[in-house]
Symmetry: C2
Subunit: 207 residues, 2 copies
C-alpha cells in the first residue's frame, strides 16, 4: 500500500464511497462505475478514479468496479477491516449519545471503555462508567486504540494527557480547544458549532 502524500480529503471521500458501496451491495448491485459512485456521493467521476489511483488499480477498463471487491479494498485502506477499541471520556448529553451511536459499531468501532468523574458505576449498554483516574489501569487491561474526548474544554487537555500516557495514539476531540499532543499522536477536532456557523455565514451573505 502506497502511503505518500495522500490528501486528507481523499480519506474522507473513501469513507463516503465505502458507505454508498455498502448501500449498493445491500440493494443487490454487483458492478458500479465511477460515474455511478459520483451520482451517489456528489464527487466527480474523475476525482473518484484519482482517489483510488493513490492506492492501486481496483477497476476493469470498459466495465467498472466490482462492488464487493472495491468495498474490501477501501476497508483495508482506511482500516475498517478490523475492529478498533474505543474509549470515551465524558458522558454528558453528547458523550452519552456517542456511546450508543449506531454508525460507530457498524463501521468496526467498539466502545470498550467509558469514563467520567461522576455517575461512576452507572450502566451504558454493556459498559459501566469508570472514573477517569482509573483510565491507565483499565487501558492496560483492555488495550484501547482510539480515544474520544467529550469533556468540558477546561478538562480536555488533562484527559488527553491521560489517554496519551496510557498509549492511545489517536484522539477524536469534541472540546472546542486546540490540544497539545506529541507528533506521533493523531488528533482530529470536531466542533459542532462550526458547522452551524458555516451555514450562518452562507445565510448572511445572501441577505
Amino acid at each position: 500500500m502506497k502511503k505518500n502524500k495522500i490528501p486528507e480529503v481523499t480519506i474522507m471521500r473513501l469513507s463516503s464511497y465505502s458507505r454508498v458501496l455498502n448501500d449498493a451491495l445491500a440493494k443487490g448491485d454487483k458492478i458500479i462505475s465511477s460515474k455511478g459512485i459520483s451520482a451517489l456521493t456528489g464527487v466527480s467521476p474523475d476525482q473518484v478514479r484519482k482517489d483510488f489511483a493513490y492506492f492501486g488499480e481496483f477497476g476493469v477498463r470498459g466495465i467498472g468496479y466490482n462492488i464487493e471487491e472495491l468495498k474490501n479494498n477501501i476497508s483495508k485502506i482506511i482500516g475498517t477491516d478490523r475492529n478498533w477499541k474505543v474509549a470515551i471520556a465524558g458522558l454528558g448529553h453528547l458523550g452519552g449519545s456517542l456511546v450508543s451511536y449506531p454508525g460507530f459499531l457498524t463501521r468496526g468501532f467498539i466502545m470498550a471503555g467509558i469514563f467520567d468523574v461522576k455517575n461512576i458505576g452507572e450502566k451504558y449498554g454493556n459498559l459501566y462508567v469508570e472514573h477517569i483516574d482509573n483510565f491507565e489501569t483499565i487501558a492496560k487491561k483492555v488495550g484501547f486504540d482510539l480515544g474520544i474526548i467529550v469533556v468540558p474544554k477546561e478538562f480536555a487537555q488533562n484527559v488527553a494527557d491521560i489517554m496519551i500516557k496510557s498509549g492511545i495514539k489517536a484522539i477524536l476531540n469534541f472540546a472546542p480547544i486546540m490540544l497539545d499532543v506529541p507528533e506521533n499522536v493523531e488528533i482530529k477536532n470536531v466542533d459542532l458549532s462550526m458547522f452551524l456557523e458555516m451555514l450562518s455565514y452562507y445565510m448572511s451573505i445572501k441577505m
Copy 2:
C-alpha cells in the same frame, strides 16, 4: 463586505478564531497578534492575516488586533452577531443531545422547534416535541432559519423536503446520505463515523 470566492476553510477558521478571541477576552487581554492567534489555533500567522484580508483591514501595523473589535468584525462576517432560529428533526440519542448542546446557544443558535414522529408532547428544555407533519404550520408561525436533520437515513430526504418547502434555506445533515436540495439551499453534511475512520486510516498506515 467583499464576498467573492472565499474558501470554505477560511470560514471554518474564522469560526475558530472567534472562539479563541472570546477566551482571550475572558482572560482580560486587549490586543492580540496574528502570531498570538496562531499559537491558540494552530493556523500559521500568514494564513490568519490572509483570512482577514478577504474581508477588510482589521489590525494596526506594528501593534496587532484589538480583540474586542476583531471579535465583533468576525461575528458580523459569519453572521453570529444575530440569533438564528433552529429547528431540529429527530430526537434519538444524538438529536436529543444536540437540543441541549451548550455550544449552539452561546453562539447565537436558538432551538426553536423540535420534531419527531413519536414521543409527541414530551418536553425538552422549554420546548415540546411536535410531529414532523406539523412542521410547515409551525414554521409559518415561528420562522425557522436553520434545520438540523438527525433522523435515520431512510427518512432524511423526506424531512429535508418538508424543511425546504417550509422556507428553510440552510440544513445541517447528520444522516449519512447525500440529500437532493435546490441550489439556493445550503447543506452541510456531518458524518461522525467519518472522523473515526480518518483516525483509523492514520493508525493503519503506521503499522
